[in-house]
């Protein structure tokens, strides 16, 4: 369904932004390592209107696609908002994942592509041109005001994919409305808040916080990935939007700083709190984590320092499904299910998500059968995760269905609790459990130290074997020569281990009955 140009729609949140209704309050700040810029949100809305007029003159209209292949910047935010003003569809292309701007125009049917990469293609524009377009003139009189029906897409979002070319989802305006409204109900962001965003704006979820600022009048700071840590103490945000890998790194830093700076007279808890405040500032109301499961120890760590870290659950295909929040949180859970979402379980406990406003009903640019495997006819998404709801409606996710190992005795082994147990050891950075011949479990461990502390790994594996059931006994462990990373292809861009690639990389040792070391 293509957006239509008509009277300003205030019936939905996204249409309030599309209509350019100015926010009552709030500022946006952009931070890079060497510079900080800031403006009133009202000025941002005004500049987005001017940019929309220039893009319209360049031939962009309702339903047209504008690609953005660039690092976080003011121009990124302005392009996204200008596209909404025109009823266009943005394609947020993550710089680490996509190259070759010329090819992308044809592949994704882009009317224009803005990038900070060089290109001579006629449809490719430099991000630097955005500022010039904004300055070029005022708003265009009579520019039609876009209105997105609930099923109309506002953006193409790309899934990580375990291999090959990313699949796309044409995310609907209705699904964005639903998520923005539900999150606001839980967290009540408003004047006095400053939400800190540093993950790529190519991820739609990160742009939600810009939309939220425009709608609810709070401040927002958008940082480059590299400037995130240096900026935090300077900016003093009230909320940080992160992922588990970010908080794991922050935790290690806080612990190291506390150990380095402290004196024996200080209480350890006080030293940690001081170090945490030096990193995150003094105003943290809460920390948000998503995209991957967070280690329980890390959740506890920040919460004990007075910076509650709230975990939730959702996939690209479902958007946010559940979330712990100040009003309702339960350790070990991913929170209660949000209004407008429903979780269903099959006989094996596999979670499906039904939404009043589905993100999409199929993939684009996917292999035949991909969509049918994930989406039901009504847009219900089969997540592949296994879990349950407790009596109070808190959702517990026990693991990926793919990560459930069914042994030859018919018993099931949930790998996540075992992997979490192993990862809690300082010698273990990451680990992935595999099953050989449906009988023996083998774990591949990425060491946290260099050189690897194989003795400590062996002891942790032995402890796991004493802790978990007989069926969950690990027979061998393989210590990887280096950590899993995005660079070596063993982690996704969301810092999740790529199981199939790790399996392939260590196939010989995993399948060899004497590969690696035998566990006690």
């Amino acid at each position: 369904m293509t957006p239509v140009a008509e009277r300003p729609g205030t019936d939905s949140l996204i249409n309030r932004i599309a209509a350019g209704l100015p926010p009552a309050a709030g500022r946006i700040r952009w931070v890079s390592l060497g510079a900080t810029e800031s403006m009133e949100l009202a000025e941002l809305a005004e500049q987005a209107g001017r940019l929309a007029a220039r893009l319209h003159e360049l031939g962009v209209g309702p339903g047209d696609r504008i690609g953005i292949l660039a690092a976080n910047s003011p121009a990124w935010v302005l392009l996204d908002l200008a596209a909404l003003r025109l009823g266009a569809v943005t394609a947020g292309l993550e710089p680490h994942k996509f190259r070759a701007p010329d090819e992308l125009c044809a592949r994704y049917g882009l009317t224009l592509l803005f990038t900070d990469q060089p290109s001579d293609h006629p449809a490719v524009r430099s991000m630097a041109e955005v500022a010039r377009l904004v300055e070029k003139g005022g708003p265009q009189p009579g520019l039609p005001v876009a209105h997105y029906p609930p099923d109309a897409p506002t953006t193409l979002k790309f899934t990580s994919g375990s291999s090959g070319r990313p699949k796309a989802l044409a995310a609907t305006a209705g699904s964005i409305d639903l998520s923005l409204g539900a999150v606001q109900q839980l967290f009540g962001h408003g004047p006095g808040d400053d939400l800190f965003v540093f993950l790529p704006l190519s991820l739609l979820q990160q742009r939600y916080w810009v939309y939220s600022a425009l709608l609810f009048g709070h401040d927002i700071t958008v940082s480059t990935y590299e400037a995130a840590f240096p900026a935090l103490a300077r900016v003093q945000p009230t909320v940080v939007m992160g992922v588990p890998g970010f908080y794991e790194t922050a935790r290690a830093h806080i612990e190291a700083q506390a150990a380095h700076d402290g004196t024996s007279a200080d209480e350890p808890g006080d030293r940690l709190r001081d170090a945490a405040r030096r990193l995150f500032g003094n105003r943290i109301r809460y920390l948000w984590t998503g995209s991957a499961p967070a280690a329980p120890a890390t959740l506890d760590f920040f919460t004990s320092l007075g910076m509650p870290l709230f975990e939730g659950y959702g996939l690209n295909e479902t958007c946010i499904v559940s979330k712990n929040h100040p009003g309702a949180h339960r350790p070990g859970s991913v929170g209660q299910v949000l209004p407008g979402k429903e979780v269903l379980f099959d006989e094996q406990g596999v979670i499906s998500v039904r939404s009043a406003q589905p993100v999409a009903r199929r993939y684009e640019y996917a292999a035949p059968g991909d969509s049918e495997r994930t989406f039901g006819p009504d847009g219900t998404v089969r997540t592949g995760d296994v879990g349950y709801l407790d009596q109070d409606g808190f959702l517990f996710v026990q693991g990926r269905h793919d990560d459930v190992i069914v042994l030859d005795n018919g018993r099931k082994v949930m790998v996540r609790p075992i992997e979490e147990f192993l990862r809690a050891d300082p010698a273990v950075e990451q680990c992935v459990l595999f099953c050989v011949d449906q009988t023996r479990l083998v774990v591949v461990v990425a060491p946290a130290t260099d050189p690897a502390d194989e003795q400590a790994v062996a002891e942790r594996v032995a402890l796991a074997n004493r802790t978990f059931d007989h069926d969950e006994r690990i027979s061998r462990f393989i210590v990887a020569p280096e950590g899993f990373s995005i660079g070596n292809g063993l982690l996704t861009s969301q810092f999740k281990p790529r199981r199939s690639r790790i399996r392939e990389a260590f196939r010989q040792q995993i399948d060899d009955p004497d590969g690696g070391a035998h566990a006690r």
Partner: protein, 87 residues
């Protein structure tokens, strides 16, 4: 390498790595990501720490500058011209 910058860089890197490696055992020309598993986020924490110790304003560097620094020697050499100029 500039002595103060090198000392600051060695101490900060050893602390960020938190692997028990001593500052003097760090190899000045080893690729910090490949040899020591320094992640991009940890690299920024390392640069924050080393700038703090060396009295250098981190804002002297851009994202591209940081991305280009691969070894301890490169970090120390990049710090040296700014040592003592922090605001």
């Amino acid at each position: 390498m500039h002595a103060d910058a090198e000392r600051a860089a060695r101490g900060s890197l050893a602390r960020v790595l938190a692997t028990g490696i001593s500052p003097e055992d760090l190899e000045p020309d080893a690729d910090m990501a490949e040899r020591y598993g320094l992640t991009s986020l940890n690299k920024v924490l390392f640069m924050m720490s080393v700038c703090d110790e060396a009295g250098v304003d981190l804002s002297c560097f851009t994202e591209h500058d940081i991305a280009r620094l691969r070894t301890l020697r490169e970090v120390a050499d990049a710090l040296a011209p700014h040592c003592g100029k922090a605001v």
